[in-house]
């Protein structure tokens, strides 16, 4: 059987199915949504969205509606703010502007949200599921985890000026240590504090290494509690070396995110395909008292990974000629299919369809011309 026969089922379909099984196995319940949502929800939280542009339309009742550019906001809005913990996953299409083309695209997004009484176990569980979602895409993947409060405390340690802090965050996201030096000179900041910030943003590696590096920074703000939380949250990766790292270049908007934030990368895809974190601040902004953590996996990014071209349109071209009985052709196709072959039937041989091999149907019997015996 040819390996590429399975090309008839899309790799992303298989992936989504395995992800649903993964999330269900941890007690997450599927959450289905309508494609539309009140525009107000997004217009008040545009900074939270990947792209601020939204497709809108006026509903029959005159209400301004939007095609969903994001799933998290809808889930939070519709999730009751009650005690306990809701664990939900989704597989939905969202509509937003693609960075590359600058035009709107329908994007398939899979993800999960853990809302309510979110403790450190919940955070570890979400990190674990994020890492295993990446592994389902490719074994060569890595989850990159950061802690916004640690980064923010280090930035405030350097300067309380919001504009300086913004630049420090930008420098962190680009691992731009010369930018920190420049800022230090320009604003007359304390060089020792700037050095500490530089050390923080240069840290990279598994949890043990980075936490040891973080502890070894002499001159720093008090981040004991956050470091301990990060260490506990990352403990699920102790036996999975290389699957998750800590890197403070992962940042996020602090009006929405707080605490741990993370991105997922897969070898062969140039950008992050998974994004998530703790977003208690967003919950608060939407009038909820609970905590929340979740992530989204952007399946549109996988096009490049699965785009290894199939050299042939079919494995065999079956030429049935002028006088063949239709039922004989179908039977011949079924026989070849049972051997794992994709069959393209044609009265005459055509080169418009690329096939590995050619066969003729004569008197109800298949005669292979070349290649496949």
């Amino acid at each position: 059987m040819y390996n590429n026969f399975t090309a008839s089922s899309e790799p992303t379909e298989e992936l989504v199915s395995s992800l649903r099984d993964l999330y269900s196995s941890f007690g997450y319940k599927r959450y289905r949504m309508s494609k539309f949502e009140d525009y107000d929800l997004y217009s008040h939280n545009k900074e939270f969205l990947v792209s601020e542009q939204i497709i809108t339309f006026t509903d029959t009742n005159g209400k301004l509606m939007a095609l969903k550019p994001d799933v998290t906001l809808s889930i939070i809005r519709n999730c009751p703010d009650i005690g306990g913990t809701s664990k939900l996953f989704y597989d939905e299409n969202v509509y937003r502007v693609s960075k590359g083309s600058g035009t709107f695209r329908e994007i398939n997004q899979v993800g999960l949200e853990c809302i309510g009484d979110v403790d450190l176990y919940c955070l570890s569980e979400v990190l674990y599921l994020a890492s295993h979602s990446l592994k389902a895409v490719s074994p060569n993947s890595v989850l990159v985890v950061s802690h916004l409060v640690i980064l923010s405390k280090f930035a405030s340690f350097v300067s309380e000026d919001p504009s300086v802090r913004d630049i420090l965050f930008e420098c962190a996201s680009k691992k731009n240590i010369h930018g920190v030096d420049s800022l230090c000179v320009k604003y007359g900041l304390q060089p020792e504090k700037c050095e500490s910030f530089k050390k923080l943003i240069l840290l990279y590696g598994d949890a043990e290494k980075v936490i040891a590096g973080l502890m070894s920074i002499q001159y720093k703000p008090d981040v004991t509690r956050e470091t301990e939380d990060l260490k506990k949250a990352m403990s699920v990766f102790k036996k999975e070396i290389g699957s998750a790292v800590i890197d403070f270049s992962v940042t996020g908007n602090m009006n929405y995110y707080n605490g741990v934030v993370f991105r997922g990368y897969v070898e062969g895809i140039p950008g992050s395909i998974l994004s998530g974190g703790c977003y208690d601040a967003l919950m608060y902004k939407l009038g909820k008292r609970s905590g929340a953590v979740g992530f989204a996996l952007y399946l549109d990014m996988l096009d490049n990974l699965y785009s290894a071209p199939d050299e042939y349109d079919a494995d065999i071209q079956l030429i049935y000629g002028e006088n063949a009985e239709n039922k004989d052709v179908i039977e011949a196709v079924k026989t070849l299919n049972s051997r794992g072959l994709r069959v393209f039937c044609s009265r005459r041989r055509t080169d418009a369809v690329k096939c590995r091999s050619y066969a003729e149907l004569t008197g109800g019997k298949v005669k292979v011309k070349d290649g496949i015996s």
Partner: protein
């Protein structure tokens, strides 16, 4: 070990940058041979170099066609690619400036017409001061725009100032300092971390901490 793909800017700056890489132990002897070839490999060091248009280096790196590259800070500020900016190489130092005819007097009652190929940099610079401007995007020979009355001022790269002087223009304000930066794709940084960090360290050693400190610019 996999190949490390490196995008270098074509031209004088690219050749200087390559010399620095070569001195740091990342040579690829065929690269400087005359000819029109654009891709060069050194399979011994597992390096693959590409010569690309300077303004395209960041695109190659952001989209992962190159793992690392060298791009001017002007290009990074203009296009804001989502890449790591690992090192200021200090090469190709110059400035992005606002320049105007020598007798220019800004009439603040009118919208200021700004000709430039750095539309985002210009927009951001004037947004900080709240000045109302009309951007006129151009791709070259920016200096003639104010002479022909197309614009009031220009925002452009200034190296020695000779071109400005020869066209009766003068710098009226500096927007930013520019030099070549080592950039890395954010995914490549994870999967080729040891290779990229080693290269960065060796380049850092080569450019010398002292020279580096003198050239620090954001």
């Amino acid at each position: 070990m996999e190949f490390l793909n490196i995008a270098l800017p074509k031209g004088r700056l690219g050749e200087k940058v390559y010399r620095l890489f070569e001195e740091a132990g990342y040579g690829c002897p065929s690269l400087l041979q005359p000819g029109r070839k654009l891709i060069f490999e050194n399979s011994e060091n597992m390096l693959r170099y590409f010569w690309v248009k300077p303004s395209d280096v960041a695109v190659y790196v952001e989209r992962g066609a190159a793992d690392i590259g060298v791009a001017g800070k002007d290009i990074l500020a203009e296009y804001e690619p989502d890449v790591f900016e690992l090192l200021d190489l200090g090469l190709g130092a110059c400035r992005v400036c606002v320049a105007a005819p020598v007798n220019f007097c800004d009439d603040t009652r009118k919208t200021l017409r700004v000709a430039t190929k750095f539309c985002n940099i210009a927009r951001s610079f004037y947004a900080d001061s709240g000045r109302d401007i009309d951007i006129i995007p151009l791709n070259g020979s920016i200096e003639i725009a104010p002479i022909l009355g197309l614009s009031d001022v220009i925002v452009d790269i200034v190296e020695t100032g000779t071109t400005l002087k020869e066209n009766d223009l003068a710098v009226i304000s500096e927007v930013m300092q520019v030099s070549a930066r080592l950039i890395a794709n954010k995914a490549s940084f994870r999967f080729k971390n040891v290779q990229i960090e080693q290269l960065k360290e060796k380049l850092y050693e080569k450019i010398g901490a002292n020279r580096y400190d003198q050239n620090i610019t954001k």
